[in-house]
Symmetry: C2
Subunit: 414 residues, 2 copies
């Protein structure tokens, strides 16, 4: 496999003010297209640190993808360093300047400043990549057989460039050998148990196919990755291994692709023209957010209630006062009434309800932090699930949402 | 400043399956306590790659924080490599073993396997850090004056260890010089405009105080960071610079601390014993999620409606059919009715409503993708805001939520 390094530039990454989502996106794109990411390095907005990273990574990778360090503020010193490193001088690129002018005239609607014009300056030894979502162009350099691509750090700008220009450029330049991935999603089984189950399976895999364990919030993804010059042989072997793998873990199998659970729910509902509503207490809208983060969710998602107080549970979802008093808000009886209330209020085919104690406060001896009740319902029946989570608030919310979506999937499969 | 490097280990980081949130957390902790993060490196689960990273980073940093590579599956090869690198052999640590046994007996409630017991093995040349949230202990090594800390990659496990053990250990060992941060949050002004405004301010800063620009979803954070052996002088200078900075950007000032907007809203409402409800169309529950992700939100947040369909807007929020027909769901008239409906339905002091077109589909010539209407209301008055966003769906949702929270803050300040 052709090796790539990712260099992210920016003090904000080193002080931890920003979570680096760019690297994961770039790595996904490279991997899906037959390149292997070797290392990822984050460095400060300092010429010496950037230069060191370029030099070191070029020793071990044929492709160096750089993001960040191209913004308009004074602390950006990447472009002069690139001039020094590749031997060139800064010139205004006419195409990039026209793009900056267009954005200021039609979108930002403010006059151009000196600082904005500087965004169109690039070293005269690069090829530029047009930025369809911002003012800083991308830049491509070659040195000693290594390809360097520099992109802005704004995710939307970088993503568009990466998908539309960089991948095709790299494929043309390096002609990578075929790579294939197959992914399974499992629930209700731990990493070490699966590993014991798969000892012989792993040992029997051809050397060019690898198995990775990717645990995530109580679920486990298993991913086969193969790369081989002979595409036919690779396809046959990876499909055969994938079939074996599905058989071995069939008891805990949730999905046979790499899609998030909310996408699986989307497809199940959308393909059958069924509708969904939510009634969330402890997850506080997070399930509705996961669902509506997907384009086209309005075709099946009618809406939801975040019923943080008992009053809202009673007023909108018709939860009975007696159910609340006898069982408490975090109980099987109440989540069933919440789910049934949502079915009625929103007139949907399915509904999903959650009530729990996310912590750190609010727990009692009888109902400790981490206790969660979930109900998935349709007009005919319902399923309930009780969780005893033991993480922090953020993780408890995410885990509850994932288990709720999986319970809905289980009900839909019945 | 004492320099630190962060090394994250794991194939999942290099294939982009997982977004690295650990590095940001570790960097924040180190920075807040007087250590400067020099570089962050992510490497594969391969002995050679890990060894190379240890060797290289130890040349430039006194502190090396390592996460990942300690899970129970077969692809983990970190501990043998640590034995080789530091010169030691794997032995079962009794304290770590007791922790593993406790977790299996009381929490997981399954018998221990061989693989689980191996989690308690550590090189005999390290000091262990107890893992309160999982089975893999942390490990501390010293070599040639450099301190190496290895922690599991599971965020909850790592965070607990970092906050409770690692920081105090590093402070005791390295006695870092005082570091101070002051952060401002601005809205409605671009990075380049602020930079022009602050040219003289930046030039006049003492060399030991730096200004960073941290743009995020239409808002801009300005952060002053200073470090000096004389704590009194540092405090005086950074406070004085911070006062100047606040004066220079006062037109666009949102907050004078490093808290997220939802935290600012929390404090405003909670301190005045006021309540809030939400009525979200296009943001789909994301605002409710931001609010309820905070512990204690139930003291002021009654609940919300995700009114994705017009029917829900009418049924729960009493939006008038005529308002929908005459203006469409994405209109000033409808968001006002949504906010007023939420005030009534949830009986709260304040409400916040959003309706918009998040894309990529659903736009028209008259109402393009990115058009968003927001309303913040109380019983006496309301404020509305119209946005024309031009990002992808994910970013449009986040931006709408941030602007909505800021509109509520503005209303509360009146």
């Amino acid at each position: 496999l052709i090796k790539a390094s990712i260099i992210t530039i920016g003090d904000e990454l080193l002080i931890g003010q920003v979570i680096d989502t760019n690297s994961a996106f770039i790595a996904q794109q490279l991997n899906a297209n037959g390149f292997a990411v070797n290392r990822r390095v984050a460095v400060a907005d300092e010429a010496a640190a950037i230069e060191q990273a370029l030099t070191e990574e070029a020793k071990q990778s044929k492709i160096i993808i750089i993001t960040g360090g191209l913004g308009p503020t004074a602390d950006d010193i990447t472009k002069p360093l690139l001039c020094k490193y590749f031997g060139g001088k800064l010139i205004v690129n006419q195409t990039a300047l026209e793009n900056v002018q267009y954005i200021f005239e039609h979108i930002i609607k403010r006059p151009l400043t000196e600082r904005n014009i500087k965004q169109a300056e690039v070293p005269d030894v690069c090829t530029i990549l047009q930025n369809k979502n911002g003012t800083a162009p991308g830049m491509v350099f070659f040195k000693d057989g290594v390809c360097f691509v520099s992109m802005p750090g704004v995710p939307a700008e970088m993503k568009n460039m990466m998908e539309h220009d960089v991948i095709s450029l790299l494929k043309k330049e390096f002609k990578p050998q075929p790579i294939m991935h197959r992914t399974l999603l499992l629930a209700g089984i731990g990493e070490s148990t699966v590993a014991d189950l798969l000892v012989h399976f792993e040992a029997a895999l051809p050397t060019y196919i690898k198995l990775a364990y990717l645990p995530n919030y109580g679920f486990l993804r298993l991913r086969l990755t193969g790369s081989h010059t002979n595409e036919q042989e690779l396809l046959a072997k990876i499909e055969s291994a994938f079939a074996d793998l599905q058989f071995l873990v069939k008891e805990n199998l949730v999905a046979t692709n790499d899609e998030p659970l909310e996408k699986i729910i989307f497809e199940l509902l959308d393909s059958k023209k069924l509708t969904l509503s939510t009634a969330e207490s402890c997850t506080g809208g997070f399930i509705a957010h996961l669902i509506t983060a997907q384009a086209g969710a309005s075709s099946f998602f009618e809406g939801g209630v975040v019923c943080y107080s008992n009053q809202v549970k009673k007023d909108i979802l018709q939860v009975q006062e007696t159910a609340l008093q006898q069982n408490g808000a975090v109980s099987e009886a109440v989540v069933i009434q919440m789910a049934e209330g949502a079915l009625q209020q929103f007139k949907t085919d399915y509904s999903l309800s959650v009530s729990g104690i996310m912590g750190p406060g609010g727990g009692t001896a009888e109902k400790p932090v981490g206790l969660v009740w979930i109900c998935a319902a349709n007009q005919q029946k319902h399923l309930t699930l009780k969780l005893n989570l033991r993480f922090n608030r953020e993780t408890n919310i995410k885990l509850s949402a994932m288990h709720a979506l999986n319970l809905l999937r289980t009900l839909m499969a019945q």
